[in-house]
Symmetry: C2
Subunit: 233 residues, 2 copies
Amino acid sequence: MVETITKTNKNNSELHKYEKPSVTVDTVIFRVVESDLKVLLVKRNATPFKDKWAIPGGFVDINNSLDDAAKLKLEEKTGVKDVYLEQLYTFGKPNRDPRGRVITVTYFALLSSEFTSMAEHLKNDDAQWFSITKLPLLAFDHKEILSYAFKRLRWKFEYTTVAFSMLPKKFTMTQVQELYEIVFETKFDKRNFRKKILSLDILDEQEVMRNVSFRPPQLYSLKANVGEIVTIL
Amino acid sequence: MVETITKTNKNNSELHKYEKPSVTVDTVIFRVVESDLKVLLVKRNATPFKDKWAIPGGFVDINNSLDDAAKLKLEEKTGVKDVYLEQLYTFGKPNRDPRGRVITVTYFALLSSEFTSMAEHLKNDDAQWFSITKLPLLAFDHKEILSYAFKRLRWKFEYTTVAFSMLPKKFTMTQVQELYEIVFETKFDKRNFRKKILSLDILDEQEVMRNVSFRPPQLYSLKANVGEIVTIL
DNA sequence: ACAAAAGTGTTGAGAGTACACCCATGC
DNA sequence: GCATGGGTGTACTCTCAACACTTTTGT
């Protein structure tokens, strides 16, 4: 930005000399339901791409930061706060929206399996969870965005502790393993998996689960102050 | 973006209903000079932040993709094409620019040490290379951006083959090692380093260097079709 | 006693780490 | 022949991968 300013500057009007693009924030919302990784999509009821599905989002309010814009939209859409949210990538090809120049800053969000209640929130809306492997026809370049988001999700699972933000506060080791197996579409060896996770020293033991008709599993929670560790798997 | 559109849509005018932010593209340009990792900065000669240094960039032309905007600015600034260029992050806090709402899409570029000629390009400009460890006072939130870019650079060096885009087409193993040592500010064991790099099977042997007053080193080149491999170190 | 899921150890292979000397050339 | 940077091998440790049975509970 600076160069053009320094070359052309007289006063502050150079901010208005350039035709401004529209800026939107879209958030890819991931959640695991019924042993399946799903994303939330909304159905468009207007042209262009009427009746196609799209990643939920909205225009940036001029007074909000991008992060806040994403947070607000997310809460409005899912009724959930305190979600893992991270900026993904900014898409800005000139013709990605036929109506004009639109630059989209994408985010991805991870919902905990605790928030099943949220489903109600969507009932009367044209919003629906889709399995990442069985996507419908998508509007704009949203197919590309989802594919990028999925890659990033896997990467994050491999090298950081974000996975735990998709689990309840207290969870069993089996839940952790199942989550990883869903995201990577593979099976892991139970003994090696547990050994690996425990060796990272990021979990606290909690009480043991009660009232189950099988050997009661140990509950764990993520240690406080665990940063985004590198290399889980 | 979609949700707001579908809710409020009558025609295409919703693109104009929102006050649009300005969008700029800034590129952090890295280069190794004299065994030192440097970034290119330009001196602002206008308010705000007059006489402070800033990351070079400019407003997005409404008809260019973000990538192209970054490429054009980079060529204009350095006279160099075919450079490694990657989108970094988009910064959009409401008050990062005192003149108004400016959203900045940042990129980072890696120059090959081959292009020393480019230095001429800058002579009469208020542009200068700064060591990443000895930065001057910076405009806007550019300090934060540089710190983010440096982190990403290290990360990329560890997990991908981008390092080779900072070397000449043909290079010696010592040059590779020195580059890594500069970026990570550490020394590596020569034998282990070479073993590691060679074991990746990403290099082709070229001829041996001539006319040196010591044992002539083997030259290597990066194999064609080597993608962005994961895990170098 | 049985169904259901939890939990646990050992071995072998491969990768990473530490470490010091000889080599080829130009002058 | 000497100064300069280039090039090489081995032993030890540690991590990763493969593999199957016993335990605890509720009914």
